[in-house]
């Protein structure tokens, strides 16, 4: 069974994937599907419950919560995925090169990583955003600068573990090129673990982007963003606690969907993976055969 076939056989994973695809599509088509303008205020209708015009109600300025959630996909999910792709690419390239060549290349990259890692990443993100000023691009830059070293180190560790395998020794002995070894052995071998890192951490990046917006350092009002929506809902938490639910649940769903997919992908990237689930009726059958 190929990778996709195995992936399809897991209902949870396929459910999460469908959910994410729907969310991304909704984000892309936000102008078409959103019932209202996400930044238009309507103070007379503020903090209203769900109605035909405002399916998820309105916030403290009378803006449509559903529309803001839909437009928020673009900022929150879109930017997190972009950040992750850039960070993982940097980490993969540097990690594979350092892990393959070792020696002084490895030393240089790793010592640079040590320097970067000696600052706590949250403090570094805050410092960089503080220097560059608040804004979406700056959050992305800050996240990349703060996290690349960690990925480089993780991916190098994965690669080093593969370098000791006999099949890579064999490829070196018969004279395969470094590029061939990286492409055919190291990268596919490490890919499973990289995908897990990436999908697990996309959740973290979403949280990080949301957290910075929550602190008021990220996306600036009135641009809709889930973390900022949560922050705004926090102010009225005592009087209208339900206003925290839409952005909170949205973040929860997307982050867990990424985590479940990450776990499943790790399982199937392992070639020894066998689907050990018991099919319905197997147990009954086996009992019958015993009693016979």
């Amino acid at each position: 069974m190929n990778v996709w076939g195995k992936f399809k056989s897991s209902k949870l994973a396929i459910g999460c994937l469908i959910l994410l695809v729907i969310i991304v599509l909704l984000g892309v088509m936000a102008p078409l599907v959103a019932p209202n303008d996400p930044v238009e205020t309507n103070v007379r209708e503020k903090l209203s419950g769900s109605s035909l015009q405002y399916p998820f109600g309105t916030d403290q300025l009378g803006r449509c919560v559903l529309s803001r959630l839909l437009y928020g996909i673009r900022t929150t999910v879109g930017m997190s995925i972009l950040t992750m792709i850039i960070t993982i690419s940097i980490g993969t390239i540097l990690g594979v090169v350092a892990g393959y060549f070792r020696g002084w290349v490895d030393e240089m990259v790793m010592r640079l990583c040590d320097v970067m890692l000696s600052f706590p990443s949250e403090v570094m993100i805050l410092a960089i955003v503080g220097m560059l000023g608040p804004g979406l691009e700056n959050i992305i830059i800050a996240n990349i600068i703060a996290k690349w070293a960690w990925y480089t180190r993780m991916i190098r560790a994965i690669v080093v573990q593969y370098m000791g395998k006999n099949y890579i020794h064999f490829a070196k002995v018969v004279g395969c090129s470094p590029l061939h070894i990286m492409k055919k052995h190291l990268f596919p071998g490490a890919l499973g673990e990289i995908v897990v890192l990436a999908s697990l951490d996309t959740g973290t990046v979403i949280l990080s982007v949301s957290a910075l917006s929550f602190l008021g350092l990220g996306v600036q009002a009135p641009t809709p963003e889930w973390g900022m929506m949560l922050n705004e809902a926090k102010n009225i938490m005592i009087t209208h606690p339900t206003k925290m639910l839409p952005p909170g649940i949205a973040i929860l769903l997307v982050v867990s969907a990424f985590n479940f997919i990450g776990d499943k992908v790790r399982d199937i990237m392992d070639p020894k993976y066998v689907d050990r689930r018991v099919k319905k009726g197997d147990f009954a059958k086996s009992r019958k055969s015993i009693s016979n």
Binding site: Y167, F170, A171, K172, V174
Partner: protein
């Protein structure tokens, strides 16, 4: 063909900061393998066999001394003669990429020399050569038995028509009946393809049945160099012990 001259190799002791504190694995190894010869390298665990084989394969560099193939250093020789040196490892489970099918694994070294179009028919011939049915082509390594997988490794090792093959404990992890089969296969291949073997083992019987010459490695030094026919005449203590420990069944 292969010339090892005065090779030294040491590793830093675990936890030591200073260069002085090193653990010498090989001290002053010199020997030569002529074209078409089969040389057995025998020694107990920790005597430096594997280190020596890694140095010859150019996976590591010696601290001192030179290793040459036909008068040239190994990397230079490999560039000039692609695919003419090959290896079979002891641990067959990690010798083949678990993501590769048998076919892909055997094709891999061939791509160093040829393009992919030429390889298809050769793979089935190679499997036939090592007495495996061609239906195994699309199987993955974990779906084969140990003996089958080691045969795949041998097929892969001879796929580029190499002249020099290092057998790094190639039969040690197989059970005795399979060992005998693989030894016969290696003998056959050697006669047919005019191969030069460096056969590393800790089992004197296997070495004696395959090789022309035996090197006894003991504590990082070559203690004795003997023709297989002269094994009984050995003067060396360690070699004597090994020879006398072999139980004969005839």
């Amino acid at each position: 063909m292969l010339k090892v001259q005065n090779v030294y190799k040491s590793y830093p002791k675990a936890g030591s900061l200073f260069k002085k504190n090193r653990f010498t694995v090989l001290s002053g190894i010199s020997f030569e393998i002529k074209e078409g010869e089969c040389v057995g390298l025998i020694g107990e665990s920790g005597s430096g066999k594997s280190t020596l084989s890694r140095l010859i394969m150019d996976l590591e560099k010696p601290d001192e001394g030179t290793i040459t193939l036909e008068g040239e250093s190994i990397p230079v020789w490999k560039k000039k003669n692609p695919g003419e040196i090959s290896v079979v490892f002891q641990d067959y489970t990690s010798s083949v990429n678990p993501r590769f099918t048998v076919e892909e694994a055997i094709i891999e070294p061939m791509l160093v020399k040829e393009n992919i179009a030429k390889t298809a028919t050769k793979v089935t011939q190679l499997l036939d050569r090592v007495a495996l049915p061609s239906k195994l082509l699309q199987r993955y390594p974990h779906e084969l038995s140990g003996g089958q997988l080691q045969r795949v490794c041998i097929a892969r090792a001879i796929s580029t028509n190499p002249r020099f093959i290092i057998l790094d404990e190639a039969i040690s992890s197989l059970d005795v009946s399979v060992q005998a089969q693989i030894l016969d296969l290696l003998k056959e291949l050697r006669a047919d393809l005019n191969l030069t073997y460096l056969f590393i083992a800790h089992d004197l019987q296997a070495v004696a049945s395959l090789c022309d010459k035996v090197l006894f490695l003991y504590k990082g030094k070559i203690e004795e160099e003997l023709l297989v026919t002269d094994l009984a005449k050995t003067e060396n203590q360690y070699a004597k012990k090994l020879v006398s420990s072999v139980i004969t069944f005839d």
